[in-house]
Symmetry: C2
Subunit: 500 residues, 2 copies
């Protein structure tokens, strides 16, 4: 207890001097030293925190440099607007029109063009509508006498505000006009209770609307012309990237299971790769928000007017549906019950081929969607996938004959014997084959869900008229994840096994 | 072709008169009639649309009547604020302070208390901070001479706006202070470029802040005291409801598969019930937004200060992890490959018991979380679930002996013969048992994932000190989805099968 107290009260230093003797440093100038150390620790801690903060900030910028450009765009627009209104002779302080231009720029300018247009158009339309309605109510109220005026105003504000607030709960309004509904209430209330006469009101509204229009159109122009970030482009890339991630996950998972012994050297990569399906599973909110903003964007690049952005949501939904199965596959692969090694080996080639073909279809779909070009090889790839499914099913059908094969006769060669050493003479309990059966069945299910994605992409291709396929390089277009010799080896492997 | 043209040009009416003869109505006054019919159709169409719109609106209100109350709250608050500022003697038009009170109410008042507090506190803090900073910059600029003033102002607006915009990309700022960052830029720009002298600025800021404070605190009070909608309560209910949905889905799926023949009468219900896992899969965004707002709420009801709302996100994540497996289970159940009937029957009881026990654990968790009370029966239920897993595994282990059972001797009874008619004399190919093996393996995986949910709920119970369990009715507390006799029958069924 006392030593504890002592330790907490004063620092003790015991220094080993080169001679070998140790000397206890008496805390003579203890207070100053402690204060100094405390300050030093504080500074170091602060430095570390600042450093970490800067590191994180740097990462945010490096992850997507367009963010930095966006910030500069906002800064420049705002500076221009403020200085324009600051320097112009009509300037009359914050209460004047300058305020509305600044407010418009700050409130409207969003990261993507679509979001900026959504907010800007919502704001403009809502202000106009609410302004007209409010002028009507205002003139009605002012004609109804001094006593009735506040009553008419109060009732109208109550009714309009309640109804507009309720409309924000309607799904259509919520996705497309939520911001507009808020601005509608705001403008209506402000104009309705204003004390001006109607003719002055209209004059003021005209001035204010033109200021808002100037601020708004500057935002639109800067947002669309200076390094534009299109929500549509982002959605397009997001969905195609997710397809690739799903393909990598599938490959990673299956390879991890069947090539256990082979992948010791590059353990890091497949682990990270095979987690990509999690991004797909969590992509719903991001996709919906991007699709929501994309529909406000004008025709740009390869995306025409009334581009079917909603179809991307369907593709995304089909991918999440598939990713769910990859998740379950991942769980089965990490299951505690291990399948008999000989059975795993027997099914390995067929399963690897199925997963390879399935992920190839996904990769080809991603390429085709990304380039908005019909794929020349997708039909072949789907056929290959389906034949891989059949191969897996055939392998399964012929499996029990292998399993209950009688022990090899004594005159058999040694090599042959080694091959068969794992094969038991009796049928296996179902529990031993369960994880493997689950993996195979999930692989088949994943392949059928990939066909669902193919259908959705086909629908997109029909809706937006994908360009015809480039016929000159149908094979180069086809992505490869394994070297040719590897694939050949695998195919031979499968044939050899099928002969057995 | 001609008849087509004729049909499109004029409507033809053929009326069967009671005598039996049919008469063709010649379009004498065709134009008037068509116009009339067109108008009638238009009116009817409009009526139908208005009716549908009203129906949808009604549904939005009926689904959650708190929404209607919220709208009335907003309407009343806004009316009170506008009338107060309209009637008070200091009134000086829209440009005056009235505007800020109205704006505050419209912009801040959100559906949940948490969202209102988030916006209000963000707005207040950001206005205060930006105001102070802007007054400093303003006085610095005004002292630097007429030429340098706009340069100093321009640079400061550019730097502050860019930095604040960038901060909105930082994850922490994005979740907690996104709105504040926007208001910060707005206030800073407005105050920095204002043409007033510093002493007048401070006076004005004081007046404006007090108006905002009045508007804001009215929002807070109305939002918290009049039929409050707490984001925290909603999150709590949302998570517990999802647990129940997951339990129902699991029961529904498994019952659908194993009780195929029995559930012909009540087909509707299990179908709808078994789709509940989809709600769980799509719950991420809603949970995050609720948890985000909930942390701004003060202590209320059973939820104390610094309540660990983040733990609900972990529970939600564990549930989605489990729901993914239910999704895969659902797919396996609807698989085209049908398992041999005798095998399905053999495993039916054990699987039904496992799913029943698993969903019971979920239901008990939901009850325990909902009442924030430790469960007296959860340990027993988990044990039962684990023993059900073991039973399923044992059933699987003993299965092949059944499968390769020799054909029954001729002297066997007819009834016994019928029982065995599906049992083949040789081992089955793996492909036939695959769907069943997948279902069983997914059921086991789901049970293990439910334990993950149990762990997260346990952590929550530790963090917020759940009340001790009510010992007086440990059995009544346990939810039942089947009648006692049904359960007993099932248990006997399992025992009988285990004896075979």
């Amino acid at each position: 207890m006392t030593s504890e107290k002592r330790a907490s009260c004063g620092l003790e230093w015991r220094v080993v001097i080169t001679g070998g003797a140790s000397e206890e440093l008496v805390p003579e100038s203890g207070l100053i030293r402690r204060a100094w150390l405390g300050i030093l620790g504080l500074i170091l801690g602060l430095k570390l925190k600042v450093w970490k903060f800067l590191e994180r900030t740097w990462k945010v910028g490096v992850d997507d440099p367009r963010r930095v450009i966006h910030c500069l765009k906002v800064g420049i627009s705002l500076t221009l607007v403020t200085l324009f209104y600051y320097l112009r002779p009509l300037y009359d302080g914050v209460g004047g029109t300058a305020m509305w231009a600044v407010m418009t720029v700050v409130v409207i300018f969003e990261y993507t063009v679509g979001a900026t247009l959504y907010k800007g158009l919502n704001r403009g339309m809502a202000t106009l509508l609410a302004g007209c309605l409010a002028v009507g109510v205002h003139s009605l109220a002012s004609r109804s006498g001094d006593t009735a005026e506040p009553i008419v105003l109060g009732i109208s504000v109550f009714l309009i505000a309640s109804a507009a607030t309720f409309s924000r709960f309607m799904p259509t309004v919520k996705t497309c006009f939520d911001y507009g509904a808020m601005i509608f209430i705001l403008t209506f209330s402000l104009v309705a209770i204003s004390g001006y006469r109607v003719d002055k009101l209209i004059d003021m509204a005209h001035q204010r609307l033109s200021t808002i229009a100037i601020g708004g159109s500057m935002c639109f122009l800067v947002s669309m012309l200076v390094f534009p970030v299109w929500a549509g482009d982002d959605l397009h890339l997001f969905v195609t990237r997710n397809m690739k991630k799903l393909a990598n996950s599938l490959d990673g998972c299956v390879a991890e299971y069947f090539n256990d012994s082979q992948s010791d050297t590059d353990e890091e990569e497949p682990c990270q790769k095979s987690q990509g399906y999690k991004c797909v599973l969590n992509s719903k909110a991001a996709e919906e928000s991007l699709a929501n903003f994309a529909r406000w964007e004008p025709a740009h690049g390869r995306f025409g007017f009334r581009y079917p952005w909603k179809q991307y949501l369907k593709i995304g939904s089909a991918m999440r549906y598939c990713a769910c199965c990859v998740e379950a596959l991942n769980a089965s692969i990490n299951s505690e019950i291990k399948a008999p090694e000989f059975m795993k080996k027997y099914l390995s080639s067929a399963c690897l081929r199925l997963s390879y073909n399935s992920s190839n279809v996904l990769r080809e779909l991603a390429e085709s969607t990304k380039n908005m070009r019909k794929s020349s090889s997708i039909d072949v790839l789907i056929e290959e996938m389906n034949s891989a499914i059949e191969d897996v099913q055939n392998a399964l059908k012929s499996l029990p004959h292998q399993v209950i094969q009688p022990p090899p006769p004594p005159q058999i060669e040694a090599a042959e014997k080694e091959k068969l050493q794992f094969i038991p003479t009796r049928s296996l309990p179902l529990i031993d084959v369960m994880p493997l059966a689950t993996i195979v069945s999930l692989l088949i299910e994943i392949a059928s869900r990939i066909e669902g994605i193919v259908d959705e992409v086909d629908e997109l291709a029909g809706l937006v008229d994908f360009k015809p396929a480039m016929d000159e390089k149908p094979k180069q277009n086809q992505p490869t994840i394994k070297t040719h010799s590897e694939e050949q080896g695998q195919q031979e492997d499968i044939k050899a096994l099928q002969k057995v």
